[in-house]
Amino acid sequence: MTALLETRGVWQRFGGLVANSDVSISVGRGEIVGLIGPNGAGKSTLFNLIAGVLPPTQGSIWFDGEDVTKMPAAERCQRGVGRTFQVVKSFETMTVIDNVIVGALVRNTVMREARRKAHEVLEFTGLAARADVLASDLVPAEKRRLEVARALATEPKLLLLDEVLTGLTPTEAQTGVALVRKVRDAGITVLMVEHVMEIVMPLVDRAIVLDLGKVLVEGKPTEVVRDPKVISAYLGDRHAVGA
């Protein structure tokens, strides 16, 4: 069976800046893959290319056996790519349930069904009690959760999580980790960008480390963290010597 997601030789240039150079990664069905790397490594750019915010300068992106390189974000969502945003983008003037209904409408054209689906997702993500609250009244951790809920309501095959665990208290992060596991157990493939290594590593099946726009290392989390190249990318060359 082919990978669910594949990027083939993807380049992204912004003027003179090369954000991604020749990035080829693949994500298999049912995996949780972590995309990590120091600040400025090109994680967010790659993430946006996969979500369809902009097309890559060069290379192609394949999803579920189909070339989606030129496909706009909305269409990719219809094909089964769900995403969250690093800086949360809730629909602030709408209630929590209404936020989620927007996502649910992708697969449910009848309002009653979309609403039922949205309630299901709120139940799943632990937001049910907050259904009728305005999104603007949520605390930051709940807003993160709402991002996930909204994306899940689109019934994605692949869920892209952009730093959903960053900036949370340890307890909140633990609940977040549990939620990601639950999502995977529901049969959804997860690709997550994080730079908090200690949270991500126990969670993911495989880690891909980006540095300076390139894939540096990729493999099992336990191997990746011990790789001298990774240590030097995060901490500088001096620290890599002893490893």
Binding site: V53, A74, R83, G103, V106, T109, R150, A151
Partner: protein
């Protein structure tokens, strides 16, 4: 929760039906032609503002150029009637369709603009429309078109002896615009529009085709406004560019919604019910040259509202309600 939601929708519908029934009885008590006139205008602006609210309130694309669609409705109807003998009822629909098409044609380039730039574009386009009509000889140019009125006729939708038919038509139009909004509010389109207004990028990531959503809102909005324009032309029995396409119409569609509550179901009706009678009364008390004065009055009102109640007057009701709801 779902029950609450369904109950609220039903309650809105019942309130609307009761209000419409009461309004329908108003002519039994209001015999004064001047007051009837104010009622007609109030209903018309409520309908217009409700339609404006679809694009600008729900979908968040603030237009200050809706006078264009109002004028197109008026001109299509009267040109078809005076030049080709087409009955106003068909002209009205034709005007609606043409306005919707123009709205989409303009949306094609302008929906790529954001925020203030979009607003400016709408103003400019409406002014261009006004200039075109002022110079278009075949359409009567600045002289306008006088509609030949030969007695009362529902077929030709013209009435000399009584204003009541106009009143009832305006009431129906108002109900229609309200009902369309009510219906769209709990539809895929309604949700898409609000999502587009709040955050287009997030909307796009959830499968909403932002551009198409805006186009849909523009078409519905322009169609309904053009019907209003056609009605107004019949009501006046005379049109010229300034009297159906002037900038004040764009304002008078936006202000009731802003006053009552932009992007809400009841805002436009509530706003129009306060604003329009007030405008008409100040104008008549202060005298013929009062056009500037009514502008001052609603300018002041808007400033007060945006300072004290940015969500509009409807927030008074919902605030009281949510207090009651939190046990």
């Amino acid at each position: 929760m779902d029950k609450n939601f369904a109950a609220r929708r039903r309650r809105d519908l019942i309130i609307a039906a009761v209000l419409a029934a009461l309004a329908a009885l108003a002519p039994l008590f209001v015999k004064d032609v001047y007051v009837q006139n104010i009622l007609i205008l109030t209903l018309m602006y409520a309908a217009l503002s409700q339609s404006w609210n679809v694009l600008s309130g729900y979908c968040g694309q603030i237009s200050l150029g809706h006078a264009l669609y109002f004028g197109i409705g008026a001109y299509t109807t009267e040109l078809l009637f005076t030049k080709f003998g087409v009955l106003p009822w068909f002209g009205m629909l034709g005007g609606g369709v043409i306005a919707a098409l123009i709205a989409m044609g303009l949306g094609y380039p302008f929906f790529r603009l954001r925020g203030h730039y979009f607003v400016i574009a709408t103003i400019v386009i409406a002014e261009i429309g006004l200039l075109l009509f002022q110079n278009w000889e075949w359409a009567g140019a600045a002289m306008g078109i006088t509609i030949p009125v030969r007695g009362d006729s529902w077929l030709k939708f013209q009435f000399m002896r009584s204003k009541l038919p106009y009143f009832y038509f305006a009431l129906v139009l108002c109900c229609l615009a309200w009902f369309v909004t009510w219906w769209l509010e709990d539809s895929k389109w309604g949700f898409w529009w609000r999502a587009v207004k709040d955050n287009p990028e997030a909307a796009e990531s959830l499968g909403v085709v932002v551009f198409n959503s805006k186009m849909g809102a523009a078409a519905v909005s322009a169609f309904l406004v053009a019907i209003g324009g056609a009605f107004y032309a019949q009501f006046l029995a005379y049109i010229d560019p300034e009297s159906v396409m002037g900038f004040q119409f764009s304002l008078l569609m936006a202000l009731p919604a802003v006053l009552g509550g932009i992007g809400t179901l009841w805002g436009p009706v509530l706003g129009a019910a306060i604003l329009i009678p007030m405008t008409e009364l100040t104008r008549s008390y202060i005298g013929g040259s009062g056009r500037g004065v009514d502008l001052i009055v609603y300018g002041t009102l808007i400033v007060l509202i945006s300072l004290a109640l940015p969500q509009g007057l409807v927030s008074l009701f919902s605030r009281a309600k949510s207090k009651g709801a939190t046990r």
